[in-house]
């Protein structure tokens, strides 16, 4: 169950996307997400999909790993679609009992579904092709300008990378504690949600105790190895832009410009919209 969440899980393989500088990928995701909100017509959506598929193809990550991230937010997705479907005012399409579906509702629901799906898939690509460490390095360097405002960028990056390292360890531990409690007759399956939540208390308490002990040990080990905050450290693997990163930036910005341009095709947009309403929905 916990293992279904793809965010933070690295898929190891060799690909041009894997080798890119994490800063490129982070900025890329940010820009990609922004473009999703620029599109005002299906041509824009098509462009976004083509771009995402092209990146997925280049990354050599099997598509099922990328869609796995969607499973975790399935409920959120469905909820968004349903709410938008029923609660958007406009021209009525069908109505039954207290509910009304409008043309506009369908439009908004589909748009939201598209945006959310693309958003999750787009960010999954980054976490699947970048080691967590590389990712935090990217964030550290990419947000380095915050240091001017005394933002503890280095320390936060260190915290993130440690948190990421301990996720699998704590998951294993949860598993172990759950098995130990099962062996003592604990029941995690039956009952309503309150009962299930209560059954988790004997798992969470030892888990937290152990997490605190680990944190204490780790802090001591880090001090013993002369960690004294983010300043004054050197890097074993400093981030340096290569030629391929420049190429990626060019592709990225071309995509953004194209998106802005296509996204604003009102005429085409109206044409598509009328087609869409006339043939697909009737």
């Amino acid at each position: 169950m916990i293992r279904d969440i793809t965010i933070g899980q690295y898929y190891q393989t060799e690909s041009p996307v894997h080798r890119l500088d994490p800063r490129v990928k982070l900025l890329g995701t940010l820009l990609f997400i922004i473009t999703l909100f620029l599109y005002k017509n299906p041509a824009g959506y098509a462009l976004g999909i083509v771009f995402l598929l092209a990146v997925i193809k280049t990354s050599r990550v099997p598509i099922r790993f990328i869609t796995k991230g969607l499973k975790g937010i399935l409920v959120v997705l469905l909820l968004t679609v349903i709410i938008n479907l029923f609660l958007t005012p406009g021209t009525e399409l069908v109505s039954f009992w207290k509910f009304t579906i409008t043309y506009e509702g369908i439009g908004v629901a589909l748009t939201m579904l598209f945006r959310l799906t693309m958003l999750i898939m787009g960010s999954s690509i980054v976490t699947l092709t970048t080691t967590p460490n590389n990712l935090t390095d990217g964030l550290e360097k990419g947000l380095g300008f915050l240091k001017i405002f005394r933002g503890p960028v280095g320390d936060v990056a260190m915290m993130m990378s440690i948190a990421l390292r301990f996720i699998p360890i704590l998951m294993e531990e949860t598993d172990r504690i759950m098995k130990a409690q099962l062996a003592r007759g604990a029941d995690f399956e039956s009952g309503n949600i309150v009962k299930k939540a209560k059954a988790l208390v004997p798992v969470l308490v030892p888990l937290f105790v152990s997490a605190f002990r680990r944190a204490g040990d780790l802090a001591m080990a880090m001090e013993a190895r002369c960690y004294r905050g983010g300043d004054g450290r050197t890097k074993m693997k400093p981030l340096i832009y290569k030629k391929r990163d420049a190429i990626a930036y060019i592709i990225l910005f071309s995509f953004v410009i194209l998106s802005v341009w296509i996204g604003r095709w009102q005429v085409i947009s109206e044409f598509f919209n009328s087609l869409y309403l006339r043939f697909i929905l009737k």
């Binding site: 460490n133 780790l218 001591m220 080990a221 013993a224 002369c226 004294r228 050197t234 890097k235 074993m236």
Partner: protein, 283 residues
């Protein structure tokens, strides 16, 4: 010069109530004096709660003596200006391998110490390579620590300390959480450091067979050093060791029993080979 010199060190864990009045005092170290010379292999033995870890933490300036002084590499550990020098002079390896590996990849973890010391990038790579080679983990450099066995994780931790180029390395029960084969590989790596790299080693353990090759041994009990000397000297006193609830190595124990039964064996036999040789001499 002595790498480590502890003079009459007393340390008390003081528990306080809400008003800050001491409620409970545990004297974890009671006038401990231990000195370690460059290149020595020192074993510190003792049952649980005898103060071994407390002593180890003093060597790294994680704890400071309540009374007495500790010099590490000639520096007083109480000297705040020298804190980081003390810590890079005496490297520490702890008991739990999972709670001391910081990196997500083996080589990145080994590079963590040098990064903190501000070593230039190129030199970090050299240090990482040489340290991983010294513990025989070079081929695992790209692996995730989560995929290694306990023994391998401990060897990575040792490499992580070595990469800081310490003068002395302190290992606090590095094998306590390992299976027998993991224990063997870690002990072999530690001995290699001392033999080949001439690294000063302070090995804290409650397995006596891990320190039969040590230069000198200190046995601790209730915060005091109760026995010290070469392994031969210390291990010849089997009754005292048993009273201190330490597991005497098999061959030493057999030799001692045989001797009690009248066989003319010398004291302090440590290994099976030695025992066989001595028994053959008796015929």
């Amino acid at each position: 010069m002595d790498i480590v010199k502890a003079e009459n060190v007393v340390f008390e864990y003081i528990r306080r109530d809400e008003e800050g009045n001491p409620t409970d005092v545990t004297t974890a170290l009671d006038h401990v004096s231990i000195d370690v010379r460059q290149g020595e292999f020192i074993g510190i033995l003792g049952h649980n709660g005898s103060g071994k870890s407390t002593f180890a933490k003093h060597l790294n300036a994680i704890l400071y003596p309540t009374e007495g002084t500790i010099y590490v590499g000639g520096m007083n550990t109480k000297d705040d200006d020298k804190l980081w020098d003390v810590r890079s002079c005496a490297g520490m390896v702890f008991q739990n391998p999972d709670n001391q590996i910081i990196g997500q990849v083996v080589e990145e973890d080994v590079g963590f110490g040098p990064e903190n010391l501000g070593v230039p990038t190129k030199e970090i790579w050299e240090r990482v390579e040489e340290s991983l080679r010294a513990v025989g983990m070079l081929e695992y450099r790209k692996k995730s620590p989560n995929k290694l066995s306990g023994g391998q994780k401990q060897r990575v931790s040792i490499a992580g300390v070595l990469a800081m180029h310490p003068k002395c390395i302190v290992l606090d029960e590095p094998t306590a959480m390992l299976d027998p084969s993991g224990r063997k590989e870690v002990v072999r790596a530690i001995r290699g450091l001392n033999d080949v790299e001439k690294m000063t080693v302070i090995l804290i353990t409650h397995y006596m067979d891990e320190v039969v090759h040590a230069d000198r041994i200190f046995v601790m009990d209730k915060g005091r050093v109760v026995m010290q000397g070469t392994p031969k000297e210390v291990f010849s006193d089997v009754p005292t060791l048993e009273k201190l609830r330490l597991d005497v190595p098999g061959p030493t124990r057999i030799a001692w029993e045989l001797k009690k039964k009248g066989l003319p064996l010398p004291d302090g036999i440590l290994t099976a080979e030695e025992l066989v040789k001595e028994i053959e001499k008796c015929r």
